[in-house]
Symmetry: C2
Subunit: 145 residues, 2 copies
DNA sequence: ATAGTTGCAAAAGTTTTGCATTGTA
DNA sequence: TACAATGCAAAACTTTTGCAACTAT
């Protein structure tokens, strides 16, 4: 391993630790590895299963149950957002800001739509005693023909 | 049973049979009962489990698996629309027209929003080779405080 | 030590599938 | 009779929970 690689790995690690600490979560080995996979690099959309496969493939020992629990803890801590688009499986998005999604039904893939690109108008007043928590827009797309 | 009740029941039955035939589905006993429960009266939002509970409660013998299969057949035939709002369970809507939903996260309840009330603007061009199939809007609401 | 966390095996749900049975022509 | 369609038990998923093991004071 080169000096540069060592330094980059150490930096990613330090960043992941800081992120977990800031969120009030202890930086355990499993969480650290999951955090590094999720938060190093550009925004991502993952399912529990595909993240588990990825980290196991990288030689990390974690159970799928821990991946689920960790994804929910991260979500509760505001590090992730859950996206409901497919009845078959849950997606988690590292982009927690205001935005919407294309969902490619054939592929099971999500693509972000910036929040300032899209607007929803005419939402009626919710039933009394209830307040709007969030407005989710899912643009479902399929392969042409 | 009064004459009026008998007549109403017969009418609902005939209507259900016609609906199934038109959709190219054989009017079997199970499908008929499910169709009558779904399509008699105003529009409804059901889960497989709650529909199953309802028909079993009414003395009909159907398995939960058949309810699932039937809901999917009805959906394929255009009699129902599937609504994805909750990672935990699938909802089916008897209103197949253009409309959107409030989702009461605490209750697990759906309320229709007429399609002409609400508008989504600024949806970007989808990636090439893909066409927009549908734009779903889910207004998530929670109990105030 | 010990109070609180954590991670995972086992359990609980939900949904799908394979095939014996039933219905139709 | 043959041929397809049906309904459900069993299987396969996804997700949650209970508790033994671990951590940080």
């Amino acid at each position: 391993m080169s000096k540069q690689m060592r330094e980059a790995a150490a930096a990613a690690n330090a960043q992941a630790i800081a992120r977990l600490r800031a969120a009030g979560l202890r930086p355990t080995r499993q969480r650290l590895e999951l955090a590094r996979h999720l938060f190093t690099g550009p925004d991502r959309h993952v399912t529990a299963e595909n993240l588990h496969g990825e980290v196991v493939g990288a030689g990390i020992k974690v159970s799928l149950a821990t991946v689920y629990n960790t994804l929910h803890q991260f979500t509760g801590a505001g590090l992730l957002r859950q996206v409901v688009v497919d009845a078959a499986r849950g997606y988690f998005d590292t982009n927690t800001g205001d935005h919407q999604h294309f969902f490619l039904e054939d592929e099971g893939t999500l693509i972000d739509i910036p929040g300032d690109a899209i607007a929803v108008s005419g939402v009626p007043q919710p039933p009394s005693g209830l307040r709007i928590d969030r407005v989710d827009v899912v643009v479902r797309v399929t392969r042409e023909n």
